[in-house]
Symmetry: C2
DNA sequence: CGAGAAGGTACGTGGTACAAACTAATTAGT
DNA sequence: ACTAATTAGTTTGTACCACGTACCTTCTCG
């Protein structure tokens, strides 16, 4: 396939972005998955199971993930009023602050990569990227 | 920043690609990092330290990684002739086969995402992506 | 009410990553 | 040339991440 370059470019770009993400997360002593956890919790107060779906993880993995985040005071568990089996996970003030700062640093980093791109280039890249992304792609 | 969309699109795209990679690797009972290991070894016969640089890992992490891959017969260690401290890592036939097949499946998957893109779109995306990638970005 | 389904947790296993301590081989300094 | 410092790799200990399994509690449905 002459499309080797295309596939390669996307792969390298994905590593570039993920490495930036991991590096920034690490600066705050967070792993990539913990960062994603906080990212999800910024806009939702899901059940453990919801989290599993969002992050593509088994429920037992979520237990541990939330355990560790809770131990660090980034997240809290609340029993659901309507179903006593269910646990709702929320972000704390500390967690929220971390999430916001991480997001800002990430945006800044991406911008720095894109320093050589014009406004039009960025728009074009944004549109092309969005056309590749199916409806249910996981977010940060 | 009105560039929120830009950053978001790149982040989502990176997750899309990485998830595809991880899923395909998992199909062959490989982790993402093992896949990258095989990818590097396809074109090089590096020392442990070289590998650490390529993959951005500590030498102790490389030891374990190569250990596990060697146990599965995907990789071999060879002592260097010129420096008896050094170990050269090579891919085996089995490893090579796995790497090639994985790469093919990955390319196919990416193509399927890009099904809606014209030839021109792909070229444009490739060029834009390459302009974001510094010369020393890690490869698959 | 009783059987089974659903939500979470606990535990065991294995991969991943790092730092620190260690061995062996090479290179530098005098 | 001989010691001192450096370099390559491994080992060990710790922590995180992910999964499957077993288990407990709570719901739901017949």
């Amino acid at each position: 396939m002459a499309d080797e370059n295309f596939v390669d470019a996307l792969a390298q770009l994905s590593f570039l972005v993920q490495n930036a993400l991991a590096e920034i997360a690490g600066r705050h002593d967070l792993s990539l998955i913990q960062t994603r956890l906080l990212g999800v919790l910024r806009d939702h107060q899901p059940t453990m199971q919801d989290l599993g779906r969002h992050l593509g993880l088994d429920k037992s993995s979520i237990s541990g993930l939330v355990d560790r985040a809770e131990r660090r005071g980034l997240v809290t568990r609340t029993p659901s009023a309507s179903d006593r089996r269910v646990v709702l996970v929320s972000i704390t003030e500390d967690g929220l602050r971390l999430a916001r700062q991480g997001a800002a640093e990430f945006a800044e980093r991406i911008e720095s990569f894109a320093a050589g791109l014009s406004e039009d280039d960025r728009r074009a890249l944004t549109v092309l990227a969005q056309r590749l992304i199916p409806r249910t792609a996981p977010s940060a």
